[in-house]
Symmetry: C2
Subunit: 349 residues, 2 copies
């Protein structure tokens, strides 16, 4: 049997922490014998949650962390001040090689900023990217980047396209994934300065299946597997998913409650409709990988339940076994060799 | 009685032209005695559509235009080459003062580009903006800019905020409209370079009710009346509305047809649901004004029906009577006086 995948999990992060996180970890341990979890948080609280649970105790270790970073704190400040927080302690475990991956449903800012600073980027990667899976009518696509670093350069976007492509092919099993760049029209000459500069660079890439521009209207229809954009635009796309779907479903519910007739109708379709809507909830995919770091970081959404934490933890197995970080590093190294004199600078490490 | 409002209407533009356009114009003439329409297009075709219709013939004139610009043509080329197209002829009528406003459901690019070149900007306006109304759970908001000019400057966005505010207050009757800038967080320090530079400028404006940043998630909830953003982002927002709503409703329909039980349920709520969804269709508002030009230009969406054309035409009455262009010019002039040494350059005219 191959070496165990060691995952540091932030027990204190998320709306349903620590209970849902601990439960998710227990379920993950029972679902796979290939992982080992370092559960990071207040020892007493975590042990209380673990009491009575059935799991392989050899593969779970509680690591004490006395502090918690909240969503209301400025990430850069929190990371520096709260050195004994569950997030910072977990990130240090990855940096020191004691863990392969880090899963957290806590403060997105602290996870992103801290991981970049404490875990560090893969050599050659200019900027790591947060890449959530978003639902489409055909399944799901990867939206890269939705992180906290805005105003990207064309070379950043090219790296996003490659990292996203590697992830979708190796982790999600999407063969020869179609890569598209978000644009306001499908013609090559369309776009803002960033897109116009990035488009020809993507066209030249031999290691991705670049299919051109995608208009935002087509994103939910699943016309591409990897959707490349700058983080400001990525954030807008992700939040429009949530906003439009939420507003629309609120209206649908109102309509269903508007008369006796519609109420009866609602009773007949309610259960099936709920299932449909869940499949189209952008937050349901839970674990968004942060790509380009020396270890895997999975940001689970704030309202994650046990099932979502479990999935985030299990995702780490394929990431390690498929050697995603190694594959990313390799692609970047090849680029360095073939594009001597490019603008890229090695990442500060 | 005040002077009639003269509206040039592109009879040949849109998926349902010329029939729906002509019908919309006839309906508008019957709905208001305050307008006069110059119907621009192939004389014979237009007259055939008009045959038998009841309306005040004194207030309708057919202006012959032998050419039509299609959606497949590059706007800048088409505007130059097809000087006798319904779009260009209409725009010339506005430039020459023979019409106060121009309504078209034709090529968005040709309408935008041509209007800027042929009608010209209000003195002091750096960039005109296309500002569609978008549906929210509370009614509608104005999204400015969704035009074809991307990579805006902070001073452009400030002008968008002011023009949008004047429009919402005077045409849509929204008192003291709340103005917000699209951002990836609500804190003042959040955002890309453009938003960070624009935010303090908007805060300083005494003639608008600036309420800060709005996250895309909150746009459909109607938390602001005027939503300011750069055109690339505006396009993404508008098209995500369409894309998410379309995909989601497709899924809802699929669910409703999935079993006998759900089919019966669907029968009971179908009619009400359809009404709800129509109210939440971003394209339903039809006429998006292009603000900052010397005359009003209303871009009706491509699939406009007679009712939407009628509304677009009638919208021009308030625009003229409320002297929106004058009010915009006035605000900009005041700005010029109080911000001597600013970056703004007078528009080339």
């Amino acid at each position: 049997m191959s070496e165990l995948v060691r995952v540091a999990v932030d027990a204190m992060g998320g709306d349903n922490a620590p209970e849902a996180v601990v439960q998710g970890v227990v379920d993950a341990l029972n679902a796979s014998k290939e992982i080992e979890v370092l559960l990071v948080g207040d020892q007493k609280t975590v042990e209380k949650c673990l009491a009575g649970a059935q799991y392989d105790k050899e593969r779970l270790q509680v690591i004490h962390a006395s502090e918690v970073i909240t969503n209301n704190e400025a990430p850069t400040v929190a990371i520096k001040k709260k050195k004994d927080s569950s997030i910072v302690v977990s990130q240090r475990l990855v940096r020191e090689g004691k863990a392969d991956a880090f899963v957290s449903a806590g403060s997105t800012g602290a996870v992103l900023v801290g991981s970049q600073v404490l875990i560090g980027r893969i050599r050659g990667i200019e900027r790591p990217a947060l890449a959530p899976l978003i639902p489409t009518t055909k399944g799901f696509s990867l939206l890269i980047d939705c992180g906290a670093n805005v105003d990207a350069k064309p070379s950043n976007l090219v790296q996003f396209a490659k990292m996203g492509s590697i992830y979708m092919e190796n982790i999600m099993g999407r063969k020869n994934p179609r890569v598209a760049i978000v644009n306001i029209g499908i013609e090559e000459e369309k776009g803002n300065a960033l897109v116009k500069q990035t488009y020809p660079l993507l066209k030249e890439c031999k290691d991705i299946n670049f299919i051109g521009s995608i208009e935002a209207r087509e994103i939910p229809n699943g016309y591409a597997d990897v959707i490349v954009c700058e983080a400001f635009v990525g954030n807008v796309i992700l939040k429009m998913y949530e906003g439009v779907a939420g507003a629309l479903m609120g209206k649908v519910k109102e309509t269903m409650m508007s008369s006796l007739k519609t109420k009866i109708g609602a009773l007949l379709i309610k259960k099936d409709l709920k299932k449909t809507l869940k499949a189209f909830d952008a937050s349901a995919y839970g674990g968004a990988p942060m790509l380009g770091l020396k270890g895997l970081v999975v940001k689970s959404h704030g309202s994650s339940n046990a099932k979502e934490i479990k999935q985030s933890v299990l995702q780490c197995i394929a990431f390690k076994q498929q050697n995603i970080s190694g594959k990313i590093a390799e692609t970047i190294t090849i680029d360095k060799k073939t594009t001597a004199g490019s603008e890229e600078k090695p990442a500060a490490e």
